[in-house]
Symmetry: C2
Subunit: 136 residues, 2 copies
């Protein structure tokens, strides 16, 4: 029964995700970002029409939980919020935000390359399609 647990796809998925997140969080902490911060910076890059609600829907983050996240990015002067109309605000990168995004890209791309490299070649190309089938 003990061994059964470690053979379950769900358990392997959980442990792999936890290990990956812990490692990525450490690397992003070196540039003073949370994982969700980095996702938001990548998502709004080159756009000027994404609202807080839009971002939340795309990243599966509740509207209410976007508030402290965007406050944090705003306090670090990485984003501005520009009125789209009298109700909505667009989240856009500042100059400093674009510079930080370049750091995010370097950390992320190195990390993702190392991640894939740990997977035996015969399984490598199957991971993303298999994972996407579980949440798309």
């Amino acid at each position: 029964m003990s061994d059964l647990l470690f053979s379950l796809p769900g358990y392997a998925l959980r442990r792999a995700a936890n290990a990956m997140m812990a490692e990525l969080a450490k690397r992003l902490a070196l540039i003073d970002l949370h994982i969700s911060d980095a996702s938001v910076l990548m998502l709004v890059a080159g756009r000027d029409d994404m609202t807080s609600s839009d971002i939340g829907r795309l990243l599966d983050i509740q509207r209410a939980n976007m508030v402290p996240l965007l406050d944090r990015l705003s306090a670090a002067e990485l984003i501005d919020r520009l009125p789209l109309n009298r109700k909505s605000l667009a989240v856009v990168l500042t100059e400093r935000g674009r510079a930080k995004l370049a750091e995010v890209m370097e950390v992320t791309m190195n990390f993702e390359r190392e991640l894939l490299h740990r997977i035996p070649p015969e399984h490598r190309d199957h991971l993303v399609p298999a994972l996407n089938a579980l949440w798309h």
Copy 2:
């Protein structure tokens, strides 16, 4: 750049794990268990020599965080704690714990079967080996 995020293995891993955990948590809540509770029940099944520290090491849960978890299982009378020596306690299933384990197995096996079934056949057998390479 926005599209890049959704193509990253790390991001797919995170979203797939979150979706899986949310679904599993819902099903286990129907039998009044947290995900970690179910893991512990499966791990100690048929054994009488696993300490809290042993379980924590195997499941990657800090010793300190095992305390409320085992207190919860103990309060539900699913486990007993028997002295192994004057320092350590073995976590063992009670009669009620063995009955609950049977429910856990039914929920878990149905869930894992459905999970695998969502993955296209050509990718299915690659998921667990790929995931295991990321944390083993």
